[in-house]
Amino acid sequence: MADFEIPEPKEIPVIPRVQPGVMSHSAPFVAKPNFQEPLGFPGELVDNWEDVAVKKLGELTGKYRSLQVYLDSCVKCGACTDKCHYYLGTSDPKNMPVARQDLLRQVYRRYYTLAGQYFPKLVGAVDMSKEVLDDWYSYYHQCSQCRRCSVFCPYGIDTAEISMAAREIMDAVGQGQKYCNEIIGKVYKIGNNLGLPEPALVDTLEGLEEEVEEDTGVKVRYPVDEKGAEVLLVTPSADFFAEPHVDGLIGYGKVFHQAGISWTLSSHASEAANFGMFIGSYENMQRVSMRVREAALELGVKRIVFGECGHAWRVAYSFLNTLAGPFDFLDPKYPVPQHICEVTHDLIKRGALKLDPSANDDMVLTYHDSCNVARASRMGDSPGGQFFIPREIIKAVCNNFVDMPPDTIHDATYCCGGGGGLLTDDLMELRVKGALPRMEALKQVVDNDGVTHMAAICAICKSQFTKVIPYYGFGMDMIVSVHQLVSNAIVLANNEQ
């Protein structure tokens, strides 16, 4: 099935011994000039790239306190070394968070600290060189920016910040990653990651309306670009096509229908994802975010709601107000933006949805916390809402729910293995191996509690799992959207709006 060894899930997970270099061959395709230039990056490796890289590093430490403090503060205590799913899945020591940081730190020390300038050997400082750049390209694309290491570091050192900075430096010297940069270009040109133009989007949604009507006998609407709707729904474009994403989209529509909330998608902001974050580019992240603001203004909506997507929710929750605010033209009664789970949870609590959880009785569910939702955002008004709100929704629409082991959920959740701009076929080996810790946790509840399905609220998690889960002997239909469960359980009434 694969030209690499698939790791064996263990009953009791073990921390592997280090095997230097075993993943040094793993690297994604480099972006061609036509993918680099629209984002404002040089097309290919510039001549004096060593200088440019070092200068860019200095520029970034001056722009981001996180980077400056994190590069200085690590004491090499080793607490993070066994926290990264990529280390656990590959045994390559450069996938230990601190070692990953050190790839950048060694250059920082050489050029920006006295100790590194005068005693490079002593403090592990090295010159910028081709080997260093190759290591960066390889290992900063083996980090899904999941922040698990940050939770466990005594100073909260977040390797995600370091790998974002490293990717920004690589973009600045002209060695960008094809997958991310091509996709960002598509958003600029067409409006979404999939490159789905407006007519096709309209078509797809009409098809969806018919399908739902056939299934339920109720005309649930899936509108695009409807001016004056109350809610603008911004959702990952995978929701328009992929399984099980689209079942989630069907669910959002049913929730709005049932609650009598008018809503619309936008063809201009037909993408919740914002890969600008993955490449550490404030400018690109802002440019993508502005589309949401523009769409909201153009359509005259009162609220913005985001669909199920992990990193998109991080950008939306944590950054959108800063990047594209202020949103003083929206209804101040609601936070901007809201997560679809917040909306649904609220409606459930108010008894506004009629639910029949027995509709999901054929499943025993568990829930995968997406990293960006768990560790980089919130839902509701109290800390930790991002954990209990999705679970309360699931429990309201399903009778059988079991959590995975405590050290693999909530803020200790393991990444699916495909986040952070790594969800590309050229990184298949990494993705399969990186999923190991999650698969081990899943196997435990499958074996002990008869779990049959795992729900997720992230487009990347869903795509990644459906793709890699077969390598571990599970069926790809085991992955479901949270709003797919809602969709199954919701009892529709014919309330024409």
């Binding site: 020591p93 100073y155 800063t322 991002q386």
Partner: protein, 248 residues
């Protein structure tokens, strides 16, 4: 007399480097913008909450406790020991000695053992666990050796050889009050001299090494930020410039 003058110079120099170096780094951390909200969540939604979160990190090493019990035990022992030892040392620099410094003298003495045991444990971990060995540079080992050296020479004085503390204090006070004409001599015990040499080395390295974790921990955005991005915008000056200069 030569020894006294030499160490007077060394300590003035070390002190200036330590203070100026730290001031520079703290200023740098303070003035570098944090353009986006990146607290590791769940994070407190109020400033008071953040103070408590930071407090738990500083006093109990909360995150470390979650991640690695052995590192936590040794690391915490070392830092608590260090804290006691340093507090006890205040009696050399303060006249009259504060009451609480008096109070901790008898048991503060044992801080040295906690410190040394902690350091030994941390070093063992660094040598024995293959992952930690892999990430260790020579400087990481030397730092532990240096601290063990300081601790061991100190403990030797406390428990074995003893030194003339009255004379030492007179020397230190004359340094502190710039009483150069009336400079008191530094006792010449080799162990004390070694202790002081190592301490001066530590002071000099401090602002150039990973010991910056001590000021750094206060500035870590993933720990010290309030979780309120939907309520408030957080535009860094350079980002605001992008906004007005770019699209819109």
């Amino acid at each position: 007399m030569f020894l006294t003058v030499l160490y007077a110079f060394i300590f003035y120099a070390a002190f200036i480097i330590l203070v100026a170096g730290l001031a520079f780094k703290i200023r740098q951390y303070w003035t570098t913008p944090a353009p986006l909200k990146i607290p590791t969540t769940p994070a407190p939604t109020t400033t008071t909450g953040v103070v408590f979160r930071m407090g738990r990190e500083l006093v109990f090493f909360e995150s470390l406790f979650r991640s690695s019990k052995w590192t936590w035990i040794f690391g915490w022992m070392f830092h608590i020991g260090l804290f006691l030892v340093l507090a006890r040392h205040l009696r050399y620099f303060i006249e009259p000695v504060w009451w609480w410094v008096e109070l901790i003298q008898p048991f503060g003495k044992y801080g040295a053992f906690a410190m040394l045991a902690g350091l030994a444990g941390l070093w063992a971990r660094r040598l024995l666990v293959d992952r930690v060995r892999y990430i260790s540079a020579p400087s990481d080992h030397l730092m532990l050796a240096l601290l063990i050296g300081i601790g061991a020479t100190g403990a030797l004085m406390t428990y074995v050889t003893h030194t003339d503390i009255i004379a030492l204090k007179a020397f230190l006070l004359s340094l502190m009050y710039f009483d150069w004409l009336n400079m008191q001599p530094l006792p010449g015990d080799p162990i004390l001299v070694l202790h002081l040499t190592l301490v001066a080395a530590l002071m000099i390295i401090f602002p150039f090494s990973k010991l910056l974790h001590a000021p750094g921990v206060f500035f870590s955005p993933s720990r010290n930020q309030v979780d309120n991005p939907r309520e408030r915008r957080h535009l860094a000056p350079w980002a605001a410039k992008l906004e007005s200069g770019g699209q819109q």
